[in-house]
């Protein structure tokens, strides 16, 4: 348990991604099976311990200390596992420290009534870090800032394998992943994915840059609209149906409407979108509406009715036992069309193929798409196989130009990691009419888009022009005549009830510093409001 606790402690405090990867690969190299596999499952949250519940923990601690003293402590620390780990009265003589595997094995076979006694014994013997790790492990609330993708990346690095292979296997594997580690260490062959309806790592596109245009022969490509939803994979395999996000997370639980419509035996790559239930056909609603349905485990009937989802299908990867990924795009598309003709699935439609004559035509389409939910165009090579990752020269994306707005810097906060000594997180605003004349209203935050050199200059501006401090946040000079104007690029605008300004930007980033522009000439809220459909 101590080695696992040390790993978690270090992961919490290591800001850099590479640092975290190194901690994980070192751990995989040092720690034997099955321990390392349980650690992976705990971090990716694929470990469920049914015999112990967080409520038991509270009961146990109230038996040991004054409730008021515990509550004061919990109030201060703000995390149940950490508070308990710090106030738990260690017992002299209790020195038997359990291993991670022992904890998992023992609790897996224990009855609910036995679990608290077992946990008590372990807590008595462990130190605060060990107790914290134990509690996090058994209550499943391991929030340590490590995404499951990072763990897969670490596994890939550890075994020197492409991450796609790990992702493809993932849903067919069970903790503690001994066969996976054996393969990664080169002692056995790659495990066979016995799972039905597995995830297949997705193929991604390169952005079109000016220099690419002459290399791309439009006659060899087919254009499709790029939709502003989320990329998904719908897999139905002998009655098992799953909906995956593009990183392979299973999001089926939140989309029973889609699952019910998967009347085929195939793996379809497409865009998940929400449509307007009041109209015929799939009238695509803004991304904001889709967002209501994301990041939940289940969904209410009401939301299913008001925000119905559908998939706009792009590609077919597998059908009735046959892997189609080696075929060309044109061949796969034909199979996809045939599948649709045969099964006519509700809640799915085919992505329209857009005929383009030349770059001038394409430029026009990109600038004036027929619908607001289109964020650009895709160009797919007719002969391209379906290759996981981002292969060169097969698929291209040409996103529409971002929207631009001139804003005034209002607040700045220190960044994290290598930026921790710079003010790199910015809140900015635009002008509106207030009771005492014009005032700034915050409309968004940006953390990126600037060069290191620009960052230094903004940082200096913040330090030299601080007028107020709120904890880690600094307010800077912001009047009509003195203030820093930033040109911010963003992908779209939504109505928002959470923001004072009533608007929320999608993916705002700094595109230029306008040292030359007086603050009073920055944009006004009316300009943004005019953009709302």
């Amino acid at each position: 348990m101590n080695r696992f606790a040390a790993l978690l402690d270090q992961l919490v405090l290591t800001p850099s991604r590479n640092g975290k990867l190194r901690l994980l690969t070192d751990y995989f190299a040092e720690v034997p099976d099955p321990e390392r596999g349980w650690a992976v499952a705990a971090i990716t949250r694929d470990l469920e311990i049914k015999s112990f519940k967080p409520a038991m923990l509270r009961e146990m601690i109230y038996e040991r200390m004054d409730a008021q003293l515990f509550d004061l402590s919990y109030d201060y620390v703000g995390d149940l596992a950490e508070t308990v780990s710090l106030v738990w009265p260690g017992q002299h003589g209790a020195n038997y420290q359990p291993g991670l595997s022992e904890v998992v094995d023992t609790l897996a076979t224990a009855k609910r009534a036995e679990a608290p006694k077992l946990v008590e014994g372990w807590l008595n013997a462990l130190d605060p870090s060990g107790r914290w790790a134990l509690i996090k492990l058994i209550t499943g609330g391991l929030r340590i800032g490590v995404a499951s993708r990072l763990v897969k990346q670490a596994l890939a690095a550890f075994g020197d394998k492409p991450i796609q292979e790990i992702e493809e296997l993932w849903h067919g594997l069970e903790p503690p992943y001994t066969e996976l580690f054996a393969w990664l260490e080169g002692t056995t062959d790659k495990p066979v994915n016995a799972m039905k309806a597995p995830f297949r790592p997705v193929m991604l596109a390169h952005p079109v840059e000016e220099k690419d245009k002459e290399r791309i022969d439009l006659a060899e490509h087919i254009a499709e609209w790029k939709w502003d939803g989320i990329r998904v994979q719908a897999v139905s395999d002998s009655g098992i149906k799953r909906l995956y996000s593009r990183t392979g997370d299973d999001i089926s639980g939140a989309f029973p409407d889609i699952l019910a419509a998967m009347t085929f035996d195939a793996a379809i790559d497409g865009e998940l979108l929400v449509f307007d239930p009041e109209t015929d056909g799939f009238q695509v609603r803004p991304f904001n509406d889709l967002q209501q349905r994301l990041n939940r485990k289940t969904v209410t009937k009401k939301l299913l009715a008001s925000h119905p989802a559908f998939i706009r299908a792009y590609d077919l990867l597998w059908v009735e036992g046959k892997d189609l990924r080696a075929l060309t795009y044109v061949e796969r598309r034909q199979r996809l069309e045939r599948l649709f003709a045969d099964t006519q699935p509700e809640r799915l439609d085919l992505s329209e193929q857009v005929s383009v004559s030349d770059w001038a035509h394409l430029t026009k389409l990109r600038a004036e798409p027929p619908l607001a939910a289109i964020e650009g165009l895709m160009l797919k090579k007719r002969v391209a196989p379906y290759v996981p990752g981002r292969p060169k020269g097969e698929w291209w994306k040409w996103k529409r130009e971002p929207f631009l707005v001139d804003v005034v810097l209002m607040y700045a906060q220190r960044g994290h990691g290598k930026r921790s000594s710079f003010y790199s997180d910015y809140t900015f605003g635009v002008w509106r009419s207030g009771e005492d004349g014009d005032e700034l209203v915050p409309v968004g935050k940006a953390y990126s888009g600037f060069t290191d050199e620009e960052l230094k200059r903004i940082d200096k501006f913040v330090r030299d022009n601080t007028v107020d401090r709120f904890g880690p946040v600094r307010a800077v000079t912001m009047g009509p005549d003195d203030g820093l104007v930033l040109e911010v690029a963003f992908e779209g605008l939504n109505r928002s009830t959470r923001h004072k300004s009533g608007v929320a930007m999608r993916f705002p980033r700094i595109s230029r510093l306008r040292w030359d522009k007086p603050a009073k000439e920055a944009d006004r809220i009316e300009m943004l409001e005019g953009m709302l459909a």
């Binding site: 405090l13 003293l69 004061l72 402590s73 710090l86 106030v87 921790s420 000594s421 710079f422």
Partner: protein, 342 residues
Amino acid sequence: MISPADLLHPTPAGLYCPPGDFYIDPVRAVDRAVITHGHADHARAGHGSVLATPETIAIMASRYGEDFTGTRQPLKYNDDVSHRGVQISFAPAGHVLGSAQVVVQHQGLTIVCTGDYKRREDPTCPPFEIVPCHIFISEATFGLPVFQHPHTRDEIAKLLVSVERNPDRAHLVGAYSLGKAQRIIALLRLMGYDAPIYIHGAMQKLCDLYKEFGVELGELKPATIREKGRAGGDKQDFAGKIIVCPPSAMNDKWSQRFPSPVSCFASGWMRVRQRAKQRGVELPLIISDHADWEELTTTIREVNPEELWVTHGREEALVRWAELEGLRAKPLSLVGYEDENE
């Protein structure tokens, strides 16, 4: 016997003694001040007269200039003075160099005001002494059961292990310029670390002062990088080295001049993981100059006063604990003492 509240009671300026007409650690300028130790929230400049240990007086003069007060009244540990019939003496508090508990006696009543204190190892000052009293006024900076500081030497060992494992990185130890910095340095020496230790410019004067009072700090060098017209080392010279700086410098641009710095913060607050994470600390060192929960409760039991008064920090929990122990207790609710960077 005089009632305790008539001998000492809180006022907006600080803890006041009417018969002796003096304040203990006043937060504003007053005529007559008794100062427990040199930290800025306890020792302010501008009082008419200051009664403190010779070390504390020297620290105040070094920080605020020679004219920090009208009259200086140095008083050694365990000596005493009488003022208007009130007897005042100092007992070591073990907090920093010169730190003292103030023992106030009048008409048979004894009140001990601890100022800040700890019971752990500290080579830079004499250890805390138990003084029997009727009223014990304890600080409560870490007055919650979650604060159980680990063994100090284990924390120093953590630092030494990290230095050894990361020879390519500089270790930046954030520590209070007065007390914590010198204690860390002295402990590193005691544990056999004899390489030069680099210090931020803001610590030079106080380290010199500690040396004058006979505290062994070994070889200290300025943490300066050679630049145009300035002496100092190359950036790479600081790889594998320990640099001690004020906590505020850790997240400052200043820290960027060192090779991939490991930010270490020596503080009791580091006990709470999220506190460490919020401050961007990579290696938290749980080393405090304040008593933790165990030290607070043990000390109160040993002193065994008739009544406990609790000041600055988390008073509520310590008062609750006293209640459970059957000891009369109340919070003093003094304002103006804070120790975020402890």
